[in-house]
């Protein structure tokens, strides 16, 4: 694979390799999502029914992804590697795409644990819900990679990322919950697809301006 996609693949591979070695982000995400689900059990009244639990699944996913996204650009910051990538002849959008794909892999791995745990603890999930999880994850990682890079350029990093991330993912939560509990999941899935298309393209095009002067 050569050219643009080859660069993206090389960058994504690099992130996967780094995580496999350091093994700090993914285990944290797995533990966090499980702990959150347990907290939710205690936080809900006994007769709450299934619907609130479905809503809380999405809260758990969003906050777990925040955990991963907060660490997304740390390897690049450590020894100035981001400067190295920006200086390279690579399209800057390829840097974003590689990071997004890697983040998606990590979030997906966390979901592989979270979804069965949720089904075990709370309630079953149908195909529409799972499709919603997939589509929502794409949107979360697309927007999250960009926004995380913005936060990385600032001083108040840890507290800033949730502030700029959460308003942007409110539509994703709506789409996801709708796909899970509504009688017409199709239109919520379509909405998630729309969100993904709009914000992925925006993030892809705008990343250049976030990492250069």
């Amino acid at each position: 694979m050569s050219g643009y996609l080859g660069d993206v693949a090389a960058l994504a591979r690099k992130d996967l390799r780094l995580e496999l070695r350091a093994r700090d982000t993914l285990p944290a995400m797995l533990l966090f999502v499980l702990a959150t689900l347990v907290v939710f059990h205690f936080a809900m009244p006994a007769d709450a029914g299934d619907d609130p639990a479905y809503g809380l699944l999405w809260v758990a996913l969003v906050f777990t992804s925040l955990l991963g996204l907060a660490r997304a650009w740390v390897p690049e910051r450590e020894a100035g590697a981001l400067d190295g990538l920006v200086l390279a002849p690579t399209d800057r959008s390829a840097i974003w795409l590689g990071k997004t794909i890697a983040s998606l892999a990590f979030l997906g791995a966390a979901e592989v644990v979270a979804i069965p745990a949720f089904v075990l603890f709370f309630a079953p999930l149908d195909a529409h819900a799972l499709a919603g999880v997939v589509l929502a994850s794409v949107g979360i990682c697309a927007v999250g990679s960009l926004v995380s890079a913005m936060a990385a350029a600032s001083r108040g990093r840890e507290v800033l990322l949730p502030l700029i991330f959460l308003p942007l993912v409110i539509p994703i939560v709506v789409g996801g919950v709708g796909a899970t509990i509504s009688e017409e999941p199709g239109k919520f899935l379509a909405f998630l697809g729309l969100y993904d298309a709009v914000f992925a393209i925006l993030s892809w095009a705008a990343f250049e301006y976030v990492v250069t002067e």
């Binding site: 090389a10 780094l18 020894a79 100035g80 990538l85």
Partner: protein
């Protein structure tokens, strides 16, 4: 018939908010020139070098570099590598991004030249500061840049590494264009064709 200059800087200024770091810098560089940039700490050397490679833009004035960024090499205060990747993996990644032809051979050659061949499979986090800096130099030289910009490269190097760097610079002199910010201009007397002193006048 003089060739057009590779670098043209005119009245370059750079401020960070209210803090002006560079003021009124102008110079030309032709192919093969070697410019030494000197000045006290905080005089704007690092800023000027970052402006040259495009990591920053001037607040006022212009800097024109007649080269695509694929032809630029840069070593800043940081080595621009990934700490948890091995030397080989780092160079392989950059070699791929810079489309270096026959990159395995070139990587091998550079690692040998800078004495890192034996450590090629170790992660950068295990390197000494000197080794890390040498790896940064390998990264900058990987794609045979036409303009090489180095920010105080000797400061992080041990004696052996510094010697290797001097050798490399002498072999590049006259072919590539060099800009080196340094506290030891005497080291590079033989290669330098011009010098620029920054700071209060």
């Amino acid at each position: 018939m003089a060739e057009a200059p590779i670098v043209t800087a005119r009245a370059v200024e750079r401020s960070y908010g209210a803090r002006r770091v560079l003021r009124g810098v102008s110079f030309d560089l032709a192919r093969g020139d070697a410019l030494l940039v000197t000045g006290a700490n905080g005089s704007g050397k690092t800023t000027l070098l970052r402006l040259l490679v495009g990591l920053a833009v001037p607040s006022r004035g212009t800097i024109d570099v007649a080269l695509h960024r694929s032809r630029l090499g840069f070593v800043g205060h940081e080595p621009l590598v990934y700490r948890e990747l091995t030397a080989l993996e780092n160079l392989d990644l950059y070699g791929r991004l810079y489309r270096v032809p026959e990159r395995r051979e070139r990587i091998g050659m550079l690692l040998e030249r800078f004495g890192l061949w034996d450590a090629r499979g170790e992660r950068v986090s295990a390197f000494s500061r000197g080794m890390t800096q040498r790896l940064g130099l390998c990264r900058a030289l990987l794609h045979e840049p036409e303009l090489l910009v180095l920010d105080e490269p000797h400061s992080a190097l041990d004696t052996q590494g510094a010697g290797l760097l001097d050798q490399e610079l002498e072999s590049l002199a006259g072919q590539s264009t060099l800009v080196v910010a340094t506290h030891e201009p005497e080291r590079l007397e033989r290669v330098a064709t011009a010098s620029l002193s920054l700071g209060t006048t």
